[in-house]
């Protein structure tokens, strides 16, 4: 018996140095996992679980007004959603809102950045003032525009419009103007963000390429098209992605300015989901709408990320 034990001990001793590092590494991993666990669990509990619960809820009929009719309905909410005109029109509004605000932000932001780049003095001040709208809460921005700026007869924008000969307009009471107004408000608030990002990227572009281009007698437009734009592309795509995700899920500013009105003229998908869930108390269907918005957001950002990788 004794030799076998000895042999086993010797074998064990031979294995140890080899194995030791593996055991150590394993322990390290476990320890790291233990350290990570609380944060991970917190993340699961606050993001993943509510998301799963939302998807789960969307498979139920949950009308607080008719508790007796509640129960599991599978995909019925989604079927109803496909034939719901108001869903499609709010989705369309969401897309229009997102596309127009993002395009405006990038175009105006880029134009401003190019202008400010050439400013010799006062650039710091300009940047400081430009950033102010971004730091305001969207709800506050909404209240200011609704009462100070856009109120007919009393607001600043209307005052300017009257003096410019356009005449007094019901900015938030006319379906088309209301949509234009909420797009303008969002653009006003968030263009400085695009401006700051693009300005920083512009400042980082290498000067020697421009010098070479000037020696080759490239015009300003050519320099912009052939050098600035391609070099800025990663920054522009990043701005587009970030702004798109925010615009798709915008809520507070529109909610305070028009609450989706007049009628349903500015009711983007997010507002419709909110209304269904918390005003009409039809939680199941509201959840289905929120899931639909989630799917749309995921698809659009997936496409944008693919575009970013494409070149």
């Amino acid at each position: 018996m004794a030799p076998t034990t000895d042999m086993a001990a010797a074998a064990a001793a031979a294995i140890v140095p080899n194995d030791f590092s593996r055991v150590l590494a394993q322990r390290e991993r476990r320890f790291a996992a233990a350290l990570l666990a609380p944060a991970f669990l917190a993340l699961l509990a606050t993001t993943t679980f509510p998301l799963m619960f939302l998807v789960w809820t969307s498979a139920f009929r949950m009308d607080l007004a008719m508790p007796f009719a509640n129960g599991f309905v599978g995909f019925e909410n989604y079927q109803a959603l496909l034939t719901d005109e108001r869903f499609w029109s709010s989705l369309l509004l969401s897309l229009v809102y997102t596309a127009s605000t993002v395009v405006l932000q990038v175009v105006i932001g880029l134009a401003l950045a190019l202008l400010v780049m050439d400013m010799k003095r006062g650039q710091g001040w300009f940047r400081l003032i430009a950033i102010l709208p971004v730091v305001l809460s969207p709800a506050v921005v909404g209240m200011i525009w609704r009462t100070f700026m856009l109120a007919p007869e009393f607001g600043i924008v209307d005052f300017l419009a009257i003096n410019a000969g356009i005449g007094s307009k019901n900015w938030l009471g006319d379906p088309l103007l209301a949509m234009v107004s909420v797009i303008a408000i969002h653009t006003w608030q968030w263009t400085p963000f695009a401006f700051m990002v693009l300005l920083a990227s512009l400042a980082a572009l290498p000067e020697d390429i421009y010098e070479a281009a000037r020696l080759d007698r490239a015009t300003a437009w050519q320099r912009f098209r052939r050098i600035t734009l391609p070099l800025l592309r990663p920054a522009i795509v990043m701005v587009i992605i970030m702004r798109t995700m925010v615009a798709l899920t915008a809520f507070a500013a529109i909610f305070t300015v028009t609450a989706g009105g007049p009628g349903t003229a500015t009711e983007i998908l997010n507002l419709y989901a909110y209304r269904k869930s918390f005003t009409e108390l039809s939680i199941g269907y509201g959840s289905a709408l929120a899931v639909a918005l989630l799917i749309v957001t995921v698809i659009i950002s997936g496409v944008l990320f693919a575009l970013r990788r494409a070149k």
Partner: protein
């Protein structure tokens, strides 16, 4: 020489002391007021006020002077009953959602809350609140002779009942009436309108946007409690019926005529901005002299008579709703009532009932109204007896000619329990109708399309 320089420690000490004093100062004053106040009128009730002593209840109310007055008196309630009341002020736009979320989760956060009468059908269908008849009839909990429940305005009591069962006790209420500038009316020899037609004609006669005076204004902003607070009266006056043959109907010729009248008035004779106005905006414009007349809650009289802001004090008079083509006048039935949350433990339910009984009693109503020490007097007391009290009537008539008469007549003869559809689905219906009215007003849809669309959306909501 030694200068006294505040060290961090002394600074903290004095700071804390000052903060404590500031925090407890008002509380001490209130306590003093409570001891001073005479509790005898309450103690004459033949119940044991101390039966739930030691309980703490939370009451959700809106930030409004009529609740502020009640909060000021809360220490008296504490002395009387030994029950602590914590008030939470929630703006009217959020209080419905917050209380519904509390009621669904059954956590019993709010023992009672200022409830929208239109929500009782929803509450009752889910059994979220207690039927109150048992509390009213229990001699241990209520002294019927002292509480005198029948003295509470009947229209408000029925608004807070579902299927004949009481679910909330009215605390403060209002009715909609005509408010007009008698100086402008007199100058043109006009009389307050007796019919909707005449109301339109008056508005036309007074409308003069170039002088910054518009003929009339009604609530334009969308919301179950905004434009759907005014439109139902017009709908009923045009002969509309919400539950036609048992089926909820919001379209049809009467509805179209009613909506057409509303839109006509708003487009022709109201300021353009009124499309986004709620009652405070209307009352503000009226008190600046830019609107000649409006139909809204009688309680807005305190805004148009605010000496700090109003330019029209002494020029305001009141009248009942004009009659519609059906010959009816229909006013609103609004009151903030208190229900009891079913999720509470038994003893706390009793504590909550004692609070409700105290708040709705004639004594507390008087103490928060004409006998209140502060400047804000309530115009929505829940007791018929107080509305006949000469002291109160004198105070109320300070708001302008015919105020008490118009309000009382509206309360007695113009209220209509079917003013709005009282069904559990009301939140969804109210919102759908509000959107339809606004989309017709803004021209997003024609009247008929907007109403037919609303009907199409409401039908599936009613199916079980």
């Amino acid at each position: 020489m030694k200068l006294h320089r505040p060290t961090r420690r002394t600074f903290l000490k004095t700071g804390t002391a000052a903060a404590t004093l500031m925090g407890f100062g008002p509380a001490l004053l209130r306590q003093a007021a409570a001891q001073e106040a005479d509790l005898a009128p309450y103690k004459s009730a033949k119940i044991d006020w101390q039966q739930a002593t030691g309980e703490t209840i939370t009451v959700a109310v809106i930030p409004a002077s009529y609740f502020e007055n009640l909060i000021t008196l809360a220490p008296q309630f504490k002395t009387l009953t030994g029950i602590d009341v914590r008030f939470e002020k929630i703006p009217p736009a959020q209080i419905r959602q917050k209380s519904v979320i509390d009621l669904t989760s059954k956590t019993g956060t709010y023992a009672t809350h200022a409830a929208d009468p239109m929500y009782y059908a929803l509450y009752a269908a889910n059994k979220w609140v207690e039927p109150l008849d048992t509390y009213l009839k229990d001699p241990k909990l209520t002294d019927p002779a002292w509480f005198n429940f029948d003295d509470i305005i009947p229209a408000w009591r029925s608004a807070d009942s579902v299927g004949g069962k009481l679910y909330g006790v009215p605390y403060d209420g209002e009715v909609t009436i005509q408010v007009y500038r008698k100086d402008l009316y007199d100058a043109k020899g006009l009389k307050p309108a007796n019919t909707l037609e005449a109301y339109m004609a008056n508005a036309a006669a007074l409308n003069s946007p170039n002088d910054r005076v518009w003929g009339a204004a009604l609530r334009g902003v969308a919301g179950a409690g905004q434009n759907m607070y005014i439109y139902p009266s017009i709908f009923r006056e045009f002969g509309g019926e919400w539950l036609k043959g048992g089926k909820l109907t919001v379209n049809g010729p009467e509805a179209e005529a009613a909506l057409a009248w509303y839109i006509d008035l708003m487009r022709k004779y109201a300021p353009t901005a009124a499309a986004n106005w709620n009652w405070p905006d209307i009352a503000d414009a009226f008190s600046q002299g830019t609107v000649a007349s409006y139909i809204d809650a009688h309680s807005s009289a305190s805004v148009v008579n605010n000496p700090e802001k109003s330019k029209v004090i002494g020029k305001v008079a009141y009248a009942r709703w004009p009659k519609g083509p059906s010959g009816k006048r229909v006013t609103s039935i609004w009151n903030w009532g208190f229900p009891i949350n079913s999720a509470l433990p038994e003893k706390r339910k009793k504590a909550t009932w004692l609070f409700i009984q105290w708040a709705a009693s004639a004594e507390t109503q008087a103490r928060t109204a004409h006998r209140f020490a502060g400047p804000a007097k309530r115009s929505g007391v829940n007791r018929s007896s107080i509305w006949r009290d000469p002291e109160y009537v004198k105070l109320m008539n300070g708001f302008g000619d015919n105020f008490v008469e118009a309000t009382m007549e509206a309360l007695q003869s113009d209220t209509d329990v079917d003013w709005r559809p009282r069904v559990p689905q009301w939140p969804a219906i109210g919102d759908t109708m509000a959107t339809a009215i606004q989309s017709a007003l803004s021209g997003q849809a024609t009247i008929k399309v907007a109403l037919d669309d609303a009907q199409r959306r409401i039908e599936p909501m009613m199916r079980g």
